[in-house]
Symmetry: C2
Subunit: 413 residues, 2 copies
Amino acid sequence: MSESSSPSLLPSKTEIAEQLDSRDELAKVRARFVLDFGVTYLDGNSLGALPASVPGRLDDVVRREWGELRIRSWDESGWWTAPERIGDRIAPLVGAAAGQIVVGDSTSVNVFKALVGAVRLAGGGEGNGKGSGRDEILVDATTFPTDGYIAESAARVTGCTLRALEPGAVPGELSDRTAAVLLNHVDYRTGRLHDLPALTAAIHASGALAVWDLCHSAGALPVGLDEHGVDLAVGCTYKYLNGGPGSPAYLYVNHAHQERFDSPLPGWTSHADPFGMRPEYAPAPGATRGRVGTPDILSMLALEAALEVWEGVGIDAVRAKSLALTDFFLECVDEYVPEGRVESVTPVAHAERGSQVALRCEDAGEVMRRLIERGVVGDFRRPDVLRFGFTPLYVGFADVERAARVLGEVVAG
Amino acid sequence: MSESSSPSLLPSKTEIAEQLDSRDELAKVRARFVLDFGVTYLDGNSLGALPASVPGRLDDVVRREWGELRIRSWDESGWWTAPERIGDRIAPLVGAAAGQIVVGDSTSVNVFKALVGAVRLAGGGEGNGKGSGRDEILVDATTFPTDGYIAESAARVTGCTLRALEPGAVPGELSDRTAAVLLNHVDYRTGRLHDLPALTAAIHASGALAVWDLCHSAGALPVGLDEHGVDLAVGCTYKYLNGGPGSPAYLYVNHAHQERFDSPLPGWTSHADPFGMRPEYAPAPGATRGRVGTPDILSMLALEAALEVWEGVGIDAVRAKSLALTDFFLECVDEYVPEGRVESVTPVAHAERGSQVALRCEDAGEVMRRLIERGVVGDFRRPDVLRFGFTPLYVGFADVERAARVLGEVVAG
C-alpha cells in the first residue's frame, strides 16, 4: 500500500473479507457444524469439523437401534444396506451415478481391492492365464505413502512390477505392459490438483486402467468419475466429507467393470446370498461386490448423518468458494507475512489447485505450534510445510484473513 | 416326573432357576447392560447387548474429543494408540500377554492378513524364494463362510492350493506340504467347541502354522492363545465382547512371529515411522505391524467403553456359568418341549461345547419368528437350526427357563 497516496480509499483485507462473507451463498451452511468462537479451523483436510446432525443421530443409533432393537436393526433400521445407501449419497459429490460406490473399510484396504481388481480386469499379472502381458503397475511417487505401500503389496500378490513416477511423467511411461495406474487427485502435501480427465484418457489410450485416490478432492471440488470414465476410485470420508475420525472409506467401481470385478477380499457380505452361508463364493452384483466383512455400523451411520450438511449444496458452488478462499488467503499472506519468510508450494493456476495452501517455512513445526496456540489450526508436514485446508462449507473469508494475519504476527516475532 | 408319586417334593425348573440365580456370582454384572424387561435375549452370539457405559462415553468422544479438540485428540485423547491399547484390554480374555493384539478392520480383513502372513511365515507358497515346498492351506469346512472365501483368496495370492476339511480330519491330512491351517474355535452353527490345544499341537508337529478364528469363543470361554502356542488368531468384538454392530475385529500375532510377520496389507499406520511419510515401507515392531489404515475411532472407542463390563470378571467364572446355562437350557428343553420336536446338534460333552445351543427343528424359521414375537430372541440359521446364545454376563437362569418354556409352548402349537 506504500504506493498509494491515500491508503484509506483502498479497502483493507478485513473489509474485503466482510464483503466476501456477506455475498457468500454457502455462509449459511456453517451453522450446520459445531464450531467454537475464537478458533479458525483450517485442518478440515485432515479431520473435518463435527456436523451438528451427528451427536443426536448417533445417540439414537446406540440407545434405540442397538440398545433396544438389537439384531432387529439389521433389517428394521436399515443397517444391512447402509454401505450402498451411503455410497449413493456420496455419489453425486464425485460425479457418479447411483450403484457404483460402496462404503466400508479404510482407504488403504480399498486401495488394495481397487488396484488388485484393476490388474485382474486388465488381464494382467501372473497366474491369470490371460496372457495380456500387462505386468506393470504405475503409482504416483508423490502420493500419500499408504497408497505406495499398498501398491507394492498389490504388485507382489499379482506378480506385477511397480514403478513410482511423478503424475506428470505417467503419460510418457505408459506402455502395453502397463496394467493399472494409481494416482492421487490432489497431492496431500502441496495441494496440487492433477488433471484427472487428461491422465485418465492417456491411461485408457495405453489400454490400462485408471485408479484414483480422491481423499483430498472429494467434497472440495468436482471429480466427474463417470464423465471421465474413471475405472476405479477410493476415498476417505473424514476430510471434506466430515464423517468423523477414521470414518469408513469408499470404493467406486465403474458400472462397466462391475460384472468382472474380482476382489481380493471376497468376504461374506459381498456374497450374492450372504445368509445362504454357502461354502462356495459367488459374488454379488453391483457395488455390493466391493464389500468385505460386517459393516461397521456406528461409524457408518455417523457418516450418514454427517452427509446431511450437503442438503441443497452443489459441488460447483463449493469449488468456486474454495478457489476464492485460497486466492484470498494467498493475497492476505502476501500482505501480512514478511517477504521471504514463507513460500507457497501450491500452484497459482486454479486448474492445478486443490482446496489447500501449503507454505514452505523454515521452522514450520514451531510456527504451527504457535499458530495453534493462537487459535489458528492447520497442520505441519515434515520437514518444512505449513498446511492449511479450506473447507468451503464452514470456513469464511474472515477466518482466512485472521489466519494470515496471525501467521504474519507469529513469523514476525 | 411321571415316575414320582409325590411330584411336589421335586423342585420345579422355576425353583431351580431361582436357586441358581441366587448363587450366581456374575448376576451383578447384568446391571452393567441396558436390558429391557420382558425380553429374553439369547442372541448375544450374534450381537451383544448394549453395555451401559457406552452411550455416555461415545457422546463425549463425539462432542468433546471430535467436536472440540478435533485433530488434537489424535494425541491428547489417545486416539492414535487405541488399536494397541484396546488389544491389550482384550488380551487377558483370550489368554494373551500384552503387545500381541491389535484392534481394527473386520474379521474378514484380519483373516486375510493372518492367513497370508502365516503362509509367508511358513516360507510357503510361490514366489517367496524360500523353497519350503509348503504350498497348501487347510481350512475348516464347517467354518463361517467368510473364512473359507478369504482363505481361497489367500491361497490364490500366495500360490497355494486350498483344501477344506472337517476340523477332526485335519490331523490326518497334515503333511510337509501344509503351510497353514485356518480353524474356527467354535462352530457358528452347531456350537461345537474344537480342541484348540490338540489341533494346534498337531499342526505344529507337521511344521505348519495354526490360525484360529475366535469369533464364537472369545469372551465366552478360556482360549489360552499363549499357553497353547497359537501362531495367529482373529476374532470379532460384537458378540461376547459386546462392542456394538460391526465393531472392529482384532488380530493376534504371537510374539515369536512378530519380527517376521509380513502383512499383505501394509498400510501407513503399520509403518515404523508413520508421520515420516516415507516412500519406502518399513514395518513397525510388535502388534502395530498388524494395523492398516487410519483407526476407526468412533467404533473403536465404543468398544473400549464396552470392555469396562469385564472389570473384576474372570473368564473361568464366565465359562463355568456358561456351561451351567447351556446344561440347564438342555434340561429345560427336555422337560418342556414335546419329544421329537427338536433335536440338539450341540455336543453334550462340556469339552466340546461352546456357549450356544443349536436345536434342529423342522419349521425353524417360523418357530423363531414366533419366539421373537413372544420376547425370546435367538436366531435362525438356514435351513433348520434354532440358535440360542448364552452370554454369561447378562443371561440368568430364569431367562433360560423362560426361553425353554416359551419354546415348548410355541412348538406345541
